[in-house]
Subunit: 364 residues, 4 copies
């Protein structure tokens, strides 16, 4: 069991929520790739906590420190390691949980797996905090991809059943940029307001809500990926399910395709205005037979409600082997889906860069 | 790009729909595992074509021939290779498609990827036919797992919007067996009849329908898998998306969890009648933090409608670079979801066996 | 434990010496690569047994049958599987060995590992016979490399202490071709005669001899490989030690470099006649810091004497747990080193093609 | 290209000689393993520079700082990352080398590979300094193995042609301990003095010498490893060639086996005093058919002389594309072989622990 993914580009995450530092190592990055640190930090700020009542009060600046593989603003070709020191950890909040596993959280499964040896303070290695180093790596990948004309964007498609509009069939870089700078990452701000109200309402009730993220990527050439288990959907889903709280992944029409007839779901081909083969619809989400077809890649990701809630819950005492109750104290996100929007972009960019490094070296 | 998956147990698929043979190699199987060939063939018959108007008329007995790794009814520890010879291939049906890619199929993406060199007769390596060797491997894995008390079962949860009932929270081996011997793999036979009507109706219209498969596994001990990218959801989804036509995968409450509050979605712990920790509900689908919690593993898989339909469709001529129309001839499945039920079981069993081989050797 | 190697190009070997068939699957081969079957069979004939008293009398034509991935003389991009049926297996020769492990052979270790379940007839999956499918794969790789100007050649550098001359510092394709067509693969035929006498002499004494193979590759561009564990020496040695009977691998000056001073061992750089950077000597064997420097790659491989000898040997009875004696009957090679010359070329070509596929796609 | 190795236990090295820090991440470590930091630091001191005229004057305390995966003296099961900050880097020494590659060093190949983007100060990621984090990981692995009765030891078998005696056929833990505490790691101190004189003599001449390291491991159960490419020799050699300056690896009799007859090289089996199967000799170095046979594992590793020497050498100017001369300034080791003794132990321990984690979980 490792906390790594990727083939040519290997991304490994390390750290625990209340440990000394969390970090990431990227093995297989090309050399000489410039990284705009200001842009990287702006990207990371999109998932940073402590900005409003919509997220945990834990205040972490989350500034990456580069230990290796990065000199004079460029990658060196050697493994790049960047860390973030944990500054605002308050471990006293978590002592009860060692005995009383929080429902919906990994406390119990980690206990079984590692016999109580895991450092589970603040969620340990399972914490959403571990997505911060993922965003370092993904932010770098996004910059490398953008120089090749590949852009990745995402928005919050739903929270607590309130829907944002979907991306248009041909989303643009400027649409991605527009969403990226918003306080709340939706296309339809009116719906976004309703979502925020729902989050706050749940928060006041000591409860939490889930959400759905839609992610798209444009500029990907046709022909990447492969049939069967190294297809683009396989590679993406494997990595996306590595983000804490993800419980579903679908591409293109996804689960809705199961209700369509072939004549409705098939995307007819046509010669586009530029003389290239294109499709009239994009129910395939840009992937046919595991291989990109040149259309926008479209994926939706379901995130469960944050398991840490302030409402009393039934649980067990592991030491006494008896039923008991638990009230989770501490600082928690009433919803993680909005903060996970850049995380989904990060992972998507890393997987796409990996595939491009393996199959389209002439770009690198 | 390989057609392999797995870590300790590596499963590699080879072959093309109209080539000499299709097959599978399993590397890393334990030695001395008996394989009941009768049971294996019964399992494979569940996906075999040519049995009724619900599937393609291509008639293939699909009997595995073991080339290596299997002597006197037992595995030897060396790589096990089994093949199926293609007997009823009719390649004349497919000539037009080399120039006119079928909408919704991999003809176009394979063309771009391999510059027209792929053997695309009958769908080539992308064909659903390649799931037959997957079932050889998965059928073997199911027998190995069953000896350790782990059982995998699946049913058709929906076709064309018609829903079967869901598995109960605690499905049993006998329920799995019951579904496995049915002609049409549903829990509620009345709904199954409606599904079959929908398939036949689409078939008569020259069209096709999609479906959803629910798969469950019981008897899995708590503590298998891991946080982040080697979690059980990551490993399963990666392999499941390798099955042709899959467009979505979700675990437990899945996409529906995004609409729940934490207080609804969290599965409260309690001490069960056997003194073991259990949960009152199973919205997590048996997985918390990527690690099994001892509850039944529950997954749903969305399959798109078969792309090969008899209705005229818009496409392009690759040689003339112009718009044109296409009518797909040949023998096709009006729905693949019902035949894919054992395939989903097969892949699930292979992934679970791989995890157990890596983490729970005392069982082997 | 798998019988595979490679990163982008995965080569998996399956089969047992006396099973139905042995074979190889190549995953990740580029599409559209022509394979000259006559040349491939000529390459395989170099390791084929039964040609003279220098090798086992087992007579196998060893003609590959392609099951997938190969149509109309070209690769399709899908996994290529080729098999060789075992025709001249005589399993009665081996029954005693199940109880009395042959010294120097894998009988005992296989017994411990797989609890007596391995199919060890004729050496099973450990047999030198498994190098035949390796030569199918390697022969294909050699043809693909040759089209890019990369050539791999080898010769028998020593047998029973009798030395062939070494390759010149700049071996040529024609030198490789010259050795390849010889009955006995040496540069100095007079020394080759002495080696053959030594082999026959050992054979008459019921004994066997070992040898050393020198392998070189030319035309490899500088810059392939990497520091640390994915260096060219790491990748090559890992695969070469997979050839049965190999006990040592060295590059360039190898073990002799340990006796040199830096001023003797360092290869001075100079500008060559073609204006390119070259080196005056090649003690590095073409690899510095795990990365090719554009000079010929040079490797030497030590092979132990065949463990199967006709002389009585001390061993144990596994069933009785007591000391006993053994005389190995059956047909055996008095030396495997000369037949392993093309096998070392095959593995070297496969590793180099894998690296090129990963790092130098513009060639593909 | 990554700087990682291992299957279940993944060890990744990062850092550059003059960068901010060097470090290691271990993924897949078992939880709850105690690490004796004093013993770990004592182990690391064996390779630490700056202790005498036999090694570089660069003075680095090389104390590991644990960032993750390690709490209260025990592993947590999550990825363990430890770093060493670079304190005594003097980068002014290396500026000329960016244009004039040092013969025998990776300056030129790194330049070709990464287009001059590599951070090559002090040898960058190719520096022997990167073996310090390897020793952190290997020191931890040695402690975990020792608790299971597996011990790894090594000594300097030769320097500049001066031979130490070989390990006895059955080396003991106490012999390993004895060598480990010596200032100069040989069995025969008289020969060790001659070696030291040879190193100092070369140093005074501005030159360097190479050496051979013999490494053994005892207590390994029979049955670990596998045939072909995942054999113990394959896994070990792949990792050992990742140590800078290694040019040859052999097991048991190694290259000398090529000169033996089968009757001499085969290790006869016998029933030992403890009733277990053992062998009379150990020419196989503890490995038959890629699988351990329960005898001591024995490996020899050839290290070339340090390429950095003070004697003027011929090289080229990359900017002017013309021949020139170079005198390497800075602080260098006249020999790295004696400092590499614990590094070879470290890598051996890591590979063995990986195999045990994959195949012998009942020990963990």
């Amino acid at each position: 069991m490792s906390s790594e993914f990727g083939s040519v580009l290997r991304v490994g995450i390390f750290g625990e929520s209340h440990g000394r530092a969390i970090g990431v190592t990227m093995q297989g990055l090309p050399a000489g790739e410039a990284v705009d640190i200001t842009a990287l930090e702006a990207f990371m700020d999109r998932r940073r906590p402590g900005k409003s009542a919509l997220s945990t009060a834990r205040n972490e600046p989350d500034r990456p420190v580069f230990l290796s593989g990065f000199v004079d603003g460029k990658t060196t070709g050697s493994p790049l390691t960047a860390i973030i020191e944990n500054l605002d950890a308050r471990s006293r909040d978590y002592s009860e949980l060692l005995d009383k596993p929080r429902p919906g959280h990994a406390d119990y499964t980690a206990f079984v797996k590692w016999g109580g040896q895991a450092d589970m303070r603040g969620g340990g290695h399972f914490s959403g905090r571990l997505t911060a180093p993922l965003c370092i790596a993904g932010g770098i990948a996004k910059q490398i991809l953008a120089r090749r004309g590949v852009f990745v964007g995402a928005h919050l498609a739903a929270v607590a059943g309130i829907q944002d509009q979907a991306f248009p069939q041909a989303p643009t870089q400027s649409l991605f940029d527009e969403v990226a700078v918003k306080e709340f990452p939706v296309l339809d701000d009116a719906q976004g307001k309703r979502m925020q109200s729902a989050i706050l309402e749940a928060s006041h009730a000591g409860d939490s809500v889930g959400g759905v993220i839609e992610c798209a990527a444009i500029g990907i050439p046709a022909g990447l990926g492969g049939p069967m288990f190294d297809g683009v959907e396989s590679s993406l889903s494997r990595a996306i399910f590595g983000i804490p709280a993800v419980k579903g992944v679908e591409f293109g029409a996804g689960f809705a395709a199961a209700n369509l007839r072939g004549s409705e779901n098939n995307d007819p081909f046509r010669i586009g205005e530029d003389g290239q083969v294109t499709t009239i619809t994009n129910n395939a989400g840009g992937i046919l037979g595991g291989i990109t077809n040149g259309q926008p890649l479209v994926m939706r990701v379901a995130m469960k409600p944050t398991p840490s809630i302030a409402i009393p819950q039934k649980t067990v005492s592991l030491s006494k082997n008896e039923n008991t109750e638990l009230i989770v104290h501490g600082r928690h996100d009433p919803c993680v889906a909005h903060r996970a929007v850049p995380v989904v972009e990060a992972v998507t960019a890393l997987v796409l860069l990996d595939i491009i490094l393996e199959e389209k070296q002439e770009w690198i």
